[in-house]
C-alpha cells in the first residue's frame, strides 16, 4: 500500500524519509506527480511524531516548488490506483496548483480578552436581567464581528486569499488562514502584529509558513 503526502506538477527531489523511514517515490500520470511511500502494512496513529513526519515531507517539497498537501493518513492500495486518481483529477490538481503557486499559508489567530463576566453582569436597567443578559451577548457578538472585519480589512490587501477555519463561530477566538506570496510574508506578519496595538484587548498570533492546506481543494473550503 501507498501512503500519499502531496501532489506536484514538476519532478521533485525526494531525499526526505516518509513514515517509518520509508523512502519516497513520485508516481506520475497525466503530467501530475503524487509523492508517496510504499509499505507492507501501515497503521498510522495521529500522534505528534507521525504528524510532524508527514509535515516534514510536505515542507521539503514546498521548498522546491508549488505543492498540494494531501490529508494526513491517506492510503491507496496500488500504484495503479494512484495513477488512476491522478488521471481522473489531473485538471483539478493543475488548477489548484496554479492557485497556490509561489505562496504559503499563514494561520492567524485573534483572541479577544474575556470580558465575559463584566458583560454578563446586569446593569441596573429598568428592563431586567434577561434583557441585560441578551444585550450583553449581542454586544459581545457585534464586538467579535467588528474585530473580525478590522482584521480582514488590514490583512486581505497583503494576501491572495483568505478563509476562516471551521469551528470559528463561537468562543472568544477567531481563526483564519491566509494565502500569502512568499516574498510578502514578512510584511504580512508585521501588519498582523500591529493589529494588537490598533485594537484594544485583542491578541494576535501568526503561525506558518505552512503548505497551503486550507487552499488545496478546488471548491472554497468551509
Amino acid at each position: 500500500m501507498f501512503c500519499l503526502y502531496a501532489i506536484t506538477d514538476w519532478k521533485p527531489r525526494l531525499d526526505t524519509p516518509g513514515h517509518g523511514e520509508a523512502p519516497l517515490q513520485a508516481i506520475r500520470a497525466s503530467g501530475i506527480a503524487a509523492v508517496a511511500s510504499e509499505h507492507e502494512d501501515l497503521s498510522l496513529v495521529a500522534d505528534e511524531d507521525a504528524l510532524w513526519a508527514h509535515e516534514r515531507v510536505v515542507e521539503a517539497l514546498m521548498d522546491q516548488g508549488a505543492v498540494l498537501p494531501i490529508r494526513f493518513g491517506t492510503l491507496l492500495e496500488s500504484e495503479d490506483e494512484v495513477r488512476l486518481l491522478l488521471a481522473n483529477r489531473a485538471a483539478e490538481f493543475r488548477r489548484a496548483l496554479d492557485r497556490i503557486r509561489g505562496a504559503v499559508e499563514v494561520g492567524v489567530r485573534v483572541a479577544l480578552r474575556g470580558d465575559e463576566d463584566a458583560r454578563a453582569m446586569p446593569d441596573a436597567s429598568a428592563s431586567g436581567p434577561g434583557t441585560a443578559y441578551l444585550l450583553g451577548q449581542l454586544e459581545r457578538t457585534q464586538h467579535r464581528g467588528s474585530v473580525a472585519a478590522h482584521v480582514v480589512d488590514a490583512l486581505t490587501p497583503l494576501a491572495r486569499e483568505h478563509v476562516s477555519r471551521a469551528g470559528a463561530s463561537t468562543g472568544s477566538s477567531l481563526r483564519s488562514a491566509y494565502l500569502v506570496e512568499r516574498d510578502r510574508l514578512d510584511d504580512f506578519v508585521s501588519r498582523a502584529s500591529e493589529l494588537e496595538d490598533e485594537l484594544t484587548g485583542v491578541r494576535v498570533a501568526c503561525t506558518g509558513p505552512w503548505p497551503a492546506y486550507s487552499f488545496a481543494n478546488a471548491e472554497a473550503p468551509r
Binding site: D63, R109, S127, Y133, V189, S193, R203, V204, A205
Partner: protein, 124 residues
C-alpha cells in the same frame, strides 16, 4: 520576486511567526490536544456514562447557542417586544445556569463539551 533560499531552517517544531503563544488565550484548545493525539476510547462503564452525559450536554449546548444566536438576530432586527426580550433572556440565563449545574454534577468542563472528533473537527 526572486525565490531566495531560506537562510536558516526553522526550529524543528516551532511555527510561531508572531505574537505570544499565551496559554490563557489558547488553553482550551491545547487541553483538547490530548484527545486527538492517539487517545484510546476507554470502554469501562463509568467512562461510558460520562461519555453519554458529554454527548447529551454537548447537544443541549449546541442548541442553546443556536437559539441564542437566532434571538440576537431578532433583537437586532427589532422584531421582539421588550417583554419578549426579557422573557427570552431569562430563559437563556436559566438554561445556561442549569447547564453549569449539570456540568458540575458530571465533572465536565467547557472544553469537554467542545468535542473534538479528530478528523471531523470540533463540534462547537
Amino acid at each position: 520576486m526572486t525565490s531566495a533560499p531560506r537562510p536558516t531552517a526553522p526550529p524543528a517544531r516551532d511555527r510561531l511567526l508572531s505574537g505570544d503563544a499565551d496559554l490563557d488565550l489558547f488553553g482550551d484548545e491545547l487541553d483538547r490536544l490530548g484527545g486527538i493525539l492517539g487517545r484510546r476510547v476507554n470502554a469501562d462503564r463509568e467512562s461510558l456514562e460520562k461519555g453519554l452525559a458529554q454527548l447529551v450536554l454537548t447537544l443541549v449546548e449546541l442548541l442553546r447557542q443556536l437559539m441564542e444566536r437566532q434571538a440576537l438576530r431578532r433583537i437586532e432586527g427589532g422584531s421582539l417586544s421588550e417583554d419578549e426580550v426579557e422573557r427570552l433572556g431569562e430563559t437563556f440565563m436559566l438554561l445556561k445556569e442549569r447547564m453549569d449545574e449539570l456540568k458540575d454534577a458530571f465533572e465536565l468542563e467547557d472544553r469537554d463539551l467542545n468535542l473534538d472528533l479528530g478528523p471531523l473537527g470540533k463540534l462547537l
